[in-house]
């Protein structure tokens, strides 16, 4: 088939979109999990993603760890950072109005971004292509090796996470706290512990995404988390915030839509469409594609 035919273009744009979407999905998982447990939109999530990328970078370049070992180090350290942030910035506001916690989250986000600029300079750094540089050309459709790894890791993490939440004691406790923190504490669950665990897992996921994306695009900088963070948030809302498969679905849909807008209309309208989707979803189906609307608990 002629490699530039419209059919080929559509298939290639689907591939581009699914790959881009799997990155959004990976980040959206962390957002949606934290929201699902404590009803907080953790705006610092995109910046923990950045911290994870930097930890991974230094583990590889300074300490010469292999990539996946570096990724695990980054996940552990970022998990600790996530727990610390929760203890300092969110826990004292547990009984404050929700807007106060949200503002605190934005503050943490800015602190990480510009603290990063101050410590590490705004200059982008070169991240070695640790995922290899294999390219598959299937009848003119081009797929990268690293893209497949990212997609696979996203799917595996999503399944693991669903398992943890559905079938383990911690997961059951998480759902209990999410349902009613006070009743859960009467049943002998320590909500603070469970919330810490939630932040630890969410932050570890963000760090994994950071390391993978650093290795895929080969450059990292302190503001790298801003745009993906916002897009992942859109993806999480699109799929239904608080719902694991929703994050995955939302991410992939957003990625494909962006690719089609850039590919068949104009790249200038890509972000316009992405955010228009957010607004439309919030108006038409506030609970997201997979969400069921539940009245606010009183």
């Amino acid at each position: 088939m002629e490699s530039n035919s419209i059919v080929m273009q559509i298939v290639q744009q689907c591939v581009n979109g699914i790959m881009l979407g799997s990155i959004y999905a990976l980040l959206a998982l962390g957002y949606t999990m934290v929201y699902g447990i404590i009803r907080l939109i953790n705006f610092a999530h995109g910046d923990i993603f950045m911290v994870g990328a930097y930890v991974c970078f230094f583990a590889i370049t300074t300490f010469h760890l292999p990539f996946f070992a570096a990724l695990i180090v980054a996940m552990i350290l970022s998990a600790a950072l996530g727990v610390l942030i929760e203890k300092i910035a969110y826990k004292p506001l547990r009984n404050a109005p929700r807007i106060a916690v949200l503002i605190s989250a934005i503050g943490v986000s800015l602190l990480l971004e510009y603290g990063g600029v101050a410590l590490l300079t705004a200059q982008p750094r070169f991240f070695p292509p640790a995922l290899g540089e294999v390219i598959f050309d299937i009848g003119g459709i081009i797929i990268n090796g690293p893209q497949i790894i990212i997609l696979a890791v996203s799917v595996v993490l999503m399944i693991a996470l669903t398992y943890v939440i559905k079938f383990t004691t911690v997961g059951k406790a998480m759902r209990a706290v999410s349902f009613d923190a006070e009743a859960a504490s009467l049943m002998g669950i320590n909500p603070n512990r469970i919330i810490s665990a939630t932040f630890a897992i969410g932050s570890a996921l963000a760090a994994a995404a950071g390391g993978l994306i650093g290795a895929y695009y080969n450059s990292i900088d302190p503001l790298m988390g801003v745009m993906p963070g916002i897009k992942a948030f859109v993806a999480a809302v699109l799929g239904g915030i608080g719902i694991m498969p929703g994050a995955m679905l939302g991410g992939v849909i957003l990625g494909v839509v962006e690719s089609f807008v850039s590919g068949f209309w104009s790249s200038t309208y890509r972000d316009v469409v992405a955010f228009a989707i957010l607004i439309i979803i919030l108006i038409v189906k506030p609970a997201g594609l997979l969400g069921k609307y539940r009245g606010e608990k009183v």
Partner: protein, 389 residues
């Protein structure tokens, strides 16, 4: 009461200062040297450019003094550090003009720091020569030429002309695709000039696409561009995004030449895109240290000898030529009178400098040669030099 005392004190100090500077003026007029003020970013964020510029300038001054100076007078530099800060830049030029009585001010490096000194230079009618500031607003404000502001480098849109020339003559393309950084005036300005120049000579733009700074993924746009089969891809953006664009374009099988402007001049380009992917890519720049021209070779050797083998950066090279531009104006002015020097700077025509011929246009922007740099296996090499027409 306390505040009144303070006001008195300030007034007294101010009077004393003006008296002192009055004394300074007399001695300056008597002296047998030409004092050039240097307001430069010696520390702070832009110090890389500032210190390199001063290196180039000092070498030029050393050479001219060794040959007996200008009109029999030695050149003396008075260097003030503006700490890469706009407010400090204003203070620096005020000191240079009122205390040191310089006849012209060289610098600063960045556009914002230059803008901060223009008012003082106009009030005192002392010319400024900015070696590296590329913002159009440095010499032209709201359509009016600033009478005392000049620069020694070409401005960004000029690179569009050079690139259009290169695409037509050297690459001989019939059509191009444009991929422009929509969040940067620099990128949009260059793209507008290229599009205009190419249209005049019948080269068509088959795709006109845009991206934003910090974008990571360009595959959707590049897939669209690939389908149009352009003979060249023009990416007049900064290195961080250009690197990812080149890499992803090559991965998608876009093999045509990819060209850009001086925003590409960063090691991150080859690191991120990979040496192999960078083959068949070109960008414009002010200068290449590999230029085989004898004048450039001599400058590179002299510079290395002066600074322990350090390779001269483009900032040092432009400042070196900028210094000779100023020397020439002072020489033609026949005196160290700032207003005569201003008139002479504006009338510079076909001045032979290290990098080539330079003429000052009506907007106080120099018309000078530019070089095209090619990436070959991850190394920069000079492809060609393009003279303005």
């Amino acid at each position: 009461m306390k505040s009144k005392k303070l006001i008195c004190l300030v007034a007294v100090v101010a009077m004393l200062t003006s008296l002192l500077s009055g004394c300074g003026q007399q001695s300056a007029n008597d002296s047998n040297v030409i004092k050039i003020g240097v307001n430069m970013e010696m520390t702070g964020g832009a110090a890389t450019y500032g210190t390199a510029a001063v290196d180039g300038l000092k070498l030029a001054v050393k050479e001219v003094n060794a040959k007996g100076g200008i009109n029999g007078k030695k050149v003396e530099l008075v260097i003030v550090d503006n700490k890469s800060d706009a407010a400090e830049s204003t203070n620096a030029i005020t000191k240079l003009i009122t205390d040191d009585k310089v006849c012209a001010v060289f610098g600063p490096a960045t556009t914002s720091a230059v803008l901060a000194e223009i008012q003082v230079s106009e009030d005192n009618k002392v010319p400024i020569l900015a070696p590296l500031a590329t913002g159009a607003i440095v010499t032209v404000d709201k359509g009016a030429v600033r009478p005392f502001a000049f620069r020694a480098c070409f401005i960004d849109p000029f690179q569009g002309k050079v690139l259009a020339e290169f695409l037509k003559k050297d690459l001989a393309v019939k059509n191009v695709a444009m991929l422009v950084d929509n969040s940067s005036d620099y990128s949009k300005g260059i793209a507008a000039v290229i599009t205009e120049d190419l249209a005049k000579s019948g080269v068509t733009v088959v795709a006109n696409e845009a991206y934003l700074q910090k974008d990571q993924d360009f595959k959707a746009t590049l897939t669209k561009i690939k389908a149009k089969n352009p003979q060249a891809l023009v990416v007049p953006g900064y290195a961080e995004e250009a690197a990812k664009i080149v890499k992803q374009a090559r991965e998608l099988g876009i093999t045509c030449p990819i060209v850009g402007a001086d925003g590409w001049d960063s090691p991150i380009l080859v690191e991120v895109a990979g040496a192999k992917n960078m083959n068949n890519t070109y960008f414009t720049n002010h200068y290449s240290s590999q230029d085989p021209d004898p004048a450039v070779r001599k400058f590179v050797e002299d510079f290395k000898a002066e600074y322990n083998g350090k390779e001269p950066s483009f900032a040092a090279a432009i400042s070196y030529d900028g210094a000779y531009l100023l020397f020439d104006a002072i020489k033609r002015a026949g005196s160290a009178d700032p207003e005569k020097i201003t008139a002479a700077l504006a009338n510079t025509k076909d001045l032979q400098l290290m990098m080539g011929k330079l003429s000052m246009d009506a907007n106080h922007n120099p018309l000078k040669s530019a070089v095209i740099i090619e990436y070959k296996d991850g190394k920069q090499s000079m492809k060609t030099k393009i003279q303005p027409n």
